[in-house]
Symmetry: C2
């Protein structure tokens, strides 16, 4: 049932309308990440990531069991992914940055899937050469975040299909058209590759177990829009001899126009990791804010940081310090901080992040082979 | 529409009832192999195979175009296959023996697909280890027929998936659920692997072109039950830059009980290539014949070779000499030949064939690697 009664649409391939994240927890049957769980994570990790503190990662499946197992010495593996339909934007980095934090704190392996087959099947205008080449470009962004090559395994579906296909077949044999119709909203006009595809996204859940020769718990940090795939996976996992994967769900990064999630299909409201400083200047300058019509009115009434895309960007990604985020919001509300100055601060944050990231991204070209799993 | 108005069922996975082969030509929109086409083949090949002469290969698609191209110096490649759900039976050998004749006469390459993925997906009780191991066993039967290793390329789907998957995706993107529902009779309870599978059977149609770097015409000798897959393939082939595959359809080998096609699921009416001489003795002894209740009645009224499974076996597979087949039928009709003697002749034919075949089959174990394509 992809369209909720609230009127928003959320599937792995379409997000529109005003997403009600609380409603999703109820509809999908997930659990909220409560204070007890955050405290347990903090105790084991030594600190708590701002994305957990701010409830950007806000929902989960089976994380209590994962921590129980971890405490018994049974390490989990991380699995996340990316659909390479274009260049990476900063919203994509959210779960990756979080995954890196988990990897560092818990000392675990990360499996990173680049689904060039998916993006070819679901986008009429993309050829396989396109999605494969974006996959390699996206891999540079992953590596640029500083993942440990000894513990980080990136694979492109069509390059690693020899290993993935038998795992996908095990899932595919046990999932019928009724299920994918209900879960993803497919119909008779859906192509048979797209119908099969969810099996390919399930396969890496079982890869750590196959590679290690024993049942390995898996945690998937991902956008809540991807949960659909793993509901299917979880229904078949035990039947084929594996643990159900656990999940950590994040809310989707906001767009710069304040209307919804950041989307690569609307480049002018989205910051790509390949953007130039001029791109950043222009996009942030034109972004939607909670400011008033005139500087005078804003000084008198104050701005509205809660509906401001600039403040949202800061909150979701570019300012880990809660006190700073709060102080900026306070200055905005009081009329002390005008949009021009506020945008200027965000521009500097983003430009400085991208400068470093783009340097590391270019260096990553030479270490790509250290990360890529191939058949 | 897998069930015809005549009440028989014919899909790639189910054959039951009394198949009306003429009706199939009309329903599927294929062409009969007429005398003109046989003469053209005879002219190019130097002779005409008994399976063509007897209309066992009786229907085709685009063979006139294939011969036009061949005459212009544009060679075709052959493609056929086998679903490895068990040991090979002699009925399976029919299109393979014919393919070998075509290979020898026209000097062309043969691509042979072993669909271990298909048989895993469509058979609840088979594991992937089973279908993969049957695939290797079936490959021995192919090699035992004497194919030229320089021109014969056998591949098992899960072993060659790196090459096949991108080709399958090209097809899968352009075939929707409506189509596979109509063509194969799938419904909402069909698993998503089976729904995708037809793309995998399409993929080898384009393999010779990809390997040779130019558009290569392909001819598929196969049972008419497999035509459904290639109707789908032919609808997308030109869109993705290849020729439509041409086909040569054979009628299905009869069972020993006279009720339908030879089927591995009813072992006692089916001769497997691994059967012992004792198995052959027993199965042929118990087979359905066109004989009368008593020897006396048969001597008086004569037998009915047209409904006789023993005579059918001879006709389809074990006696290439038309005059001999006719003379045996005449002796049966006249009451001169009784079933015991007639069965005795078939037993000797089969035992002698299997003795040689099994020797070559064992030798094939050491040359398997010369034939297998792997990623």
């Amino acid at each position: 049932m992809p369209r909720s009664k609230e009127g928003y649409v959320l599937t792995p391939w379409e997000v529109s309308g005003d997403i009600d994240y609380d409603d999703l927890v109820d509809r999908f049957g997930t659990s909220r990440i409560d204070n007890d769980l955050k405290k347990r994570i903090e105790k084991l990790a030594g600190d708590v990531h701002f994305m957990l503190r701010r409830n950007i990662f806000y929902s989960h499946r089976d994380m209590k069991w994962i921590l129980d197992e971890y405490e018994k010495g049974n390490k989990f593996a991380l699995y996340t992914g990316r659909g390479p339909s274009g260049h990476t934007h900063v919203g994509h980095l959210m779960p990756w940055i979080f995954a890196k934090w988990v990897q560092d704190k818990f000392g675990v392996d990360l499996y990173f899937q680049l689904t060039d087959d998916e993006k070819y099947l679901f986008n009429f205008d993309l050829e396989m050469e396109d999605t494969h080449s974006y996959a390699l470009e996206n891999a540079l962004d992953i590596i640029a975040l500083g993942f440990d090559p000894a513990k980080t395994h990136i694979f492109i579906d069509t390059d690693y299909i020899h290993t993935l296909y038998p795992l996908a077949l095990k899932v595919a044999k046990r999932v019928n058209f009724s299920t994918v119709k209900a879960v993803f909203g497919f119909d008779n006009s859906t192509n048979v590759g797209s119908i099969f595809y969810t099996s390919m996204q399930s396969a890496p859940c079982f890869l750590p177990s196959d590679r290690e020769g024993k049942k390995v718990p898996v945690v998937i940090p991902c956008g809540i829009d991807q949960d659909a795939h793993f509901r299917v996976t979880r229904d078949v996992a035990e039947t084929i001899g594996y643990y159900k994967p656990a999940l950590l769900h994040n809310k989707l990064a906001p767009s710069l126009d304040g209307t919804g999630k950041m989307s690569a299909s609307i480049p002018k409201t989205t910051i790509f990791t390949t953007d130039s400083p001029e791109d950043v200047e222009k996009k942030v300058s034109e972004s939607f804010t909670g400011g008033r019509i005139s500087a005078q009115e804003q000084r008198e009434k104050g701005g509205e940081p809660d509906i401001c895309a600039v403040q949202n960007y800061r909150y979701y990604l570019f300012e880990p310090d809660d006190a700073k985020v709060r102080s900026i919001a306070d200055r905005c509300r009081s009329g002390d901080l005008l949009c021009g100055e506020c945008k200027g601060m965000l521009k500097e944050n983003i430009k400085s992040f991208l400068k470093d990231h783009q340097e590391r991204r270019e260096k990553a070209r030479s270490s790509l082979e250290d990360f890529l799993l191939k058949d």
